[in-house]
């Protein structure tokens, strides 16, 4: 909301700097976003008339002018502008004037010719961003008039008002707050309120919930025309457009007191006014020139034939005040905030009026604002007001009380504030103490403060006024035991650090993804997405991560390793699960003067990373779209996720020069960050290692042989390491349907050094087992 400083000063005699006022309001909870000063407030700048203009003897571009500055003595000014003619009136800065940028005007010589001041452009007076030549003023101005009278300075503060304080949505309201914070007295317009009468033939309410109170006053014989200068200038200074004198008054009073008003052309209202709900589908042509189709929930002001206003939101196009209007019906009413809000939102029609009604207006201000507007309309448009105001409905209670225990105030604020200080703070806000003792007090609340209903609401007012600076800082409190969330957090950070050390960079991709590109998943979809691209909750982290890989490859990255720790969603039992996903592609060792960079990451690099994250993982071949190769990662019987390689053609399509490998794992099945591991004794006796080479069918997995070796439960066997895998598609060195695997077996006893004989015996048993079970051929 915009607040004009001069307008504000009508209600509170604040004399400080605008910036200080801004700080004061911000501290009080009215956040001042900007302070703008318009107009020209420059002492010693006056209106002058150019009497003659002659070429400068020493400079082609300059002229030597004689001007009348109102003193009676012509003054000589050297000038560089060309856009004037003799007789024009222009701003003249006299010696001693200070223009923006701390530009001090002095008498002096310009190229040898005396110049006794400076004629100004609009830019030099901060009246425009950019201006060529002198600012030519109206010929009607008197020479010698201070420029601040021609362009009166106006300071406007842009203030953000929180939704709980509709009482601040007016100049009088903000003035009250300034007064409370400065000990200055606040005033407010005090027009005599006319007597009221009820007359259902003039105005009646059909829905008292949506409109508890309605008033209308007739003014006859007005003359519609442009607003006087002061009124137009006020409205324009806070960004409102001047329409005509009557409409301007209604807007003026709204900005002055916070109560929205509406003036109808009485000639266009047939019969009495009825406040009723709209009929479904009823059409309404609003002042903005657009036709709206109403819902039965919308509240309208109607005459006997049609809706003439959308209650609290906007008047009708064909019932408003025009230049031909002579008689007015001035509406001032209370409308139910949710009803106004629902209508404004449903029709996407927001106005200064709906903004105030949505937040709630002061019931005590309804008739006051009406009286104030009548007073001003008679002043600017003439006419005669009917003696009584016609009213319908009833005003809600205009006052209530709240009890405050002083000890509760002290406890909640954590400061030993005295009863007197509490009382003083509340009294400054216009609250009346109606009773009380040393322990507690009862306060009467003004009707505009619907936000004050409980003791904490009063405590908030106390801290606002005494200032949070006066509350000491305290830092105590017992530490809290760690929770499951702490462990999850630590595990996630542990995974992040591990992966960083393995060369992966952490990505963060969007939780919201395209529904179409995840149709294979049981998706959690949004009812009101911002577009297809963000229409579902991600069922996997990999889509976003692979997109990031592609993006980086397109930027010329030769090696990409990315990971993300994040939440995925599924329309299944486990709706929200935290996972870590990894992708890698490109150079395994970066190309350098030493290394060729020829080797690319492959499946086993990723498998190794996964094994370092989940030591007890087992791997099981599965098929999983869109991966050409995929294995499920299990911890015990639980599925921990998978590792996969995307199809080579898909990899090429994303500009990858080698395999693109991905993995996605549940965070809760990874190695915990903090775990106590039990000590395993370090072997005291040396191990014996024997190497073997076997020839097996191409499709026999190493894992099959490994499983058979372990299944034999050879007591001295301590480990198995595969060190060579060889196949020859040409069949030259080995039949094409066979492959050779070389592995070593390690034997060890915790009690003694092994003899060659017992190792050989163990090896023979293992070889015999493999031959008979798997038909393995040993190459000797």
């Amino acid at each position: 909301m915009k607040i004009s400083l001069s307008w504000l000063k009508e209600f509170v005699p604040y004399e400080g700097a605008a910036q200080d006022l801004g700080d004061l309001l911000t501290r009080a909870g009215l956040e001042v976003g900007s302070i703008e000063t318009r107009g020209a407030d420059f002492p010693k700048v006056v209106v002058a008339q150019i009497l003659e203009s002659n070429p400068h003897p020493n400079a082609d571009r300059l002229s030597v002018c004689k001007v009348d500055d109102g003193s009676g003595e012509p003054r000589q000014i050297v000038c560089g502008a060309k856009n004037y003619k003799v007789g024009d009136k222009v701003p003249l800065a006299l010696p001693g004037a200070v223009l923006p940028g701390n530009f001090k005007i002095k008498s002096g010589k310009l190229r040898g010719v005396e110049s006794d001041g400076m004629m100004c452009s609009a830019k030099e007076l901060n009246l425009a961003e950019d201006a060529q030549g002198l600012l030519i003023l109206s010929p009607d101005l008197k020479t010698g008039t201070p420029i601040s009278e021609v362009f009166p300075p106006e300071t406007v503060l842009e203030i953000e008002i929180t939704p709980n304080r509709p009482d601040w949505l007016s100049h009088a309201g903000v003035a009250r707050e300034v007064a409370a914070n400065t000990n200055l007295p606040a005033t407010s317009p005090n027009p005599g309120i006319a007597p009221t009468r009820e007359d259902a033939a003039v105005a009646r309410i059909e829905d008292a919930t949506a409109c508890p109170f309605y008033s209308v006053r007739r003014i006859s014989g007005v003359k519609i025309g442009p607003s006087p200068e002061w009124l137009r200038r006020r409205l324009e200074s806070i960004g409102l457009r001047s329409i005509n004198n009557v409409v301007d008054v209604t807007n003026y009073v709204m900005m002055e007191l916070g109560q929205p008003l509406h003036a109808f052309d009485a000639a266009k209202i047939a019969g009495g006014i009825i406040v009723r709900r709209a009929m479904a589908g009823e059409k309404f042509l609003a002042l903005d020139g657009r036709e709206y189709e109403l819902r039965s929930a919308d509240l309208v002001i109607a005459d006997s034939g049609r809706a003439v206003a959308l209650a609290g939101v906007m008047g009708g196009e064909d019932s408003g005040v025009t230049e031909t209007t002579t008689d007015l019906l001035l509406e001032s009413a209370l409308f139910d905030p949710p009803t106004v809000r629902a209508t404004a939102r449903a029709l996407d029609l927001h106005s200064d009026s709906s903004y105030r009604f949505e937040r709630g207006v002061d019931p005590a201000g309804v008739l006051l604002a009406s009286a104030r507007a009548v007073e001003l309309i008679l002043e600017v448009a003439g006419g005669v007001a009917e003696e009584t105001v016609v009213v319908a409905g009833a005003l809600p209670p205009l006052e209530w009380t709240v009890e405050l225990a002083y000890s509760r105030c002290r406890d909640l604020l954590g400061v030993g504030i005295s009863n007197d200080r509490v009382n003083a703070a509340l009294a400054k806000l216009g609250l009346d103490k109606v009773s009380g003792d040393d322990a507690k007090s009862v306060w009467k609340i003004p009707s505009g403060r619907a936000d004050l209903t409980r003791d904490v609401d009063l405590i908030e007012e106390v801290v606002r006024l005494v200032g949070i600076e006066s509350i000491p800082s305290r830092l105590v409190g017992a530490p809290t035991l760690a929770t499951r969330a702490d462990a999850t957090y630590d595990d996630a950070m542990h995974v992040r650090r591990s992966l960083r050390d393995l060369g992966f960079s952490e990505a963060r991709t969007s939780t919201l993804v395209s529904r179409a590109s995840h149709s294979a998943y049981p998706l959690m979809e949004l009812r009101n997405p911002l577009g297809e691209e963000q229409s579902a909750l991600r069922p996997t982290l990999l889509t976003g991560l692979l997109a990031a890989v592609e993006r980086n490859l397109n930027f010329g990255a030769t090696s990409v390793r990315l990971f993300e720790v994040g939440r995925v969603f599924s329309a299944s039992q486990e709706e929200q699960v935290d996972r870590v996903a990894l992708v890698m592609t490109g150079e395994r060792v970066a190309k350098s003067w030493r290394d060729s960079g020829d080797e690319s990451f492959d499946f086993f690099d990723m498998k190794g990373v996964v094994q370092s994250l989940v030591r007890s993982a087992t791997f099981h071949h599965v098929s999983r779209e869109p991966f050409a190769l995929a294995v499920e990662v299990k911890v015990g019987d639980a599925s921990a996720g998978f590792v996969g390689q995307i199809s080579p053609s898909a990899a090429r399509a994303m500009n990858a020069r080698g395999p693109v490998i991905a993995a996605e794992l549940r965070l809760d099945l990874l190695e915990a960050a903090d775990q106590v591991r039990e000590f395993v004794p370090i072997p005291k006796f040396p191990a014996v290692t024997r190497d073997f080479a076997v020839v097996v069918p191409r499709d026999m997995a190493f894992g099959t042989i490994e499983a058979a070796v372990h299944a034999a439960q050879e007591p001295l066997l301590a480990g198995m390491q595969v060190f060579d895998v060889f196949a020859d598609d040409t069949g030259a060195k080995l039949p094409a349907d066979r492959k050779s695997l070389a592995f070593s077996l390690t034997f060890r006893s915790p009690e003694r050094t092994l003899t060659a004989e017992e190792v050989t015996a163990a090896c023979d048993r293992l070889k015999a087992g493999l031959r008979s079970q798997l038909g393995v051929d040993f190459r000797e």
């Binding site: 949070i468 800082s473 993006r551 969603f569």
Partner: protein
């Protein structure tokens, strides 16, 4: 015989010192010390040495063997050293070093982790809650009026079943009080969502950190002390901190916190919202739990929340918030 020994010594030592590399030296070793070398050959002559001279000549022969062996060893060592030195001297130390591949942790995570560590030092534990929430947890329990604009379909993402994506991490306050009895002292980092079009300063999804402390007689003084400590730890001792009265439905009184540091360019930057937990929130919790341990007459508390994305943006000085989610390695690896 002794003259022969001396002559052989001179010859062998000269040959050793003349050898230029390991191969020549090995040839010298074979020539003099090999099985059929000159020195073993000469030793065979011992048989013909008179008995009384045997000890002396034998000693001289031994000395010859020892001296030649020592000379060979030191010559081998010298040649190896020379080769090693030559190899090391060939290393051009101005070539760039080659570091093991290091990844990076996202700058937002790094900031979040710093914040977590500071609160943990003050004794806060972590808490967590789901991204998909009920309207009750996100709004009703937090004293948001039924017609509040934040509930609007234009501002909040809804699921077909009526649940929503949490618009703030304040939901975790509620989740925590539902299941834990006071005192509670928690922080909850997490994702939150608003139905905003994405631009240079807005993301539809952002990262927040929530905090809650509820116990007997927790006051505004505790709120101030805790958050001032946090902000000074995070931004430096000389950070200016301003609490500005504000409004949130779930706290009363409520404040916004502004800070001024070199990182904010010397200007006030709005950083966080906070306040004393509104009694209406405690009442909702009591009704839900069916007990009175959170009755507003028994406990009080403060809550706070702040967004990390905009903060990270200011701290690391990036012009566009979308850089945080574009995952460009040229960006990520800077941190």
């Amino acid at each position: 015989m002794e003259a022969q020994i001396e002559a052989l010594r001179a010859e062998a030592l000269a040959a050793i010192s003349a050898a230029k590399d390991a191969r020549e030296l090995d040839a010298v070793r074979v020539k003099y010390m090999g099985r059929a070398g000159a020195i073993p050959l000469l030793s065979e002559g011992m048989r013909n040495v008179p008995k009384e001279d045997k000890a002396r000549v034998g000693k001289a022969l031994n000395a010859l063997r020892t001296d030649v062996t020592a000379a060979l060893e030191s010559a081998v060592q010298a040649i190896a050293d020379a080769a090693d030195n030559a190899a090391l001297a060939d290393i051009d130390v101005t070539l760039p070093g080659i570091a093991p591949a290091q990844g990076s942790i996202h700058p937002l995570t790094q900031l979040l982790d710093r914040a977590v560590r500071i609160f943990r030092r003050m004794g806060f534990a972590l808490a967590d809650g789901p991204d998909i929430e009920t309207e009750w947890h996100c709004f009703d329990a937090l004293n948001t009026p039924p017609h509040h604009p934040a509930r609007n379909e234009q501002d909040t993402f809804y699921l077909p079943d009526g649940r929503l994506l949490r618009t703030h991490t304040s939901t975790v306050q509620i989740r925590t009080m539902e299941t834990q009895s006071p005192p509670v002292r928690i922080i909850a980092p997490g994702a939150a969502y608003r139905r905003d079009e994405v631009d240079a300063t807005h993301l539809a999804q952002f990262t927040q950190m929530e905090g809650l402390y509820v116990a007997e007689k927790v006051s505004v003084a505790d709120l101030k002390g805790t958050l001032e400590f946090f902000l000074r730890e995070l931004f430096g001792e000389n950070t200016k901190i301003r609490f500005r009265p504000h409004f949130f439905p779930f706290t009363e009184p409520s404040f916004e916190i502004d800070i001024q540091t070199p990182a904010t360019g010397g200007k006030w930057m709005e950083l966080a919202g906070c306040g004393m937990v509104d009694p209406a929130v405690f009442q909702q919790i009591c009704d839900r739990r069916g007990d009175e341990v959170y009755h507003p007459d028994k406990v009080s508390g403060f809550a706070f929340g702040f967004g990390l994305d905009r903060l990270a943006m200011n701290l690391i000085g990036i012009p566009d918030i979308r850089m945080l989610v574009e995952n460009d390695l040229r960006f990520l690896r800077q941190f």
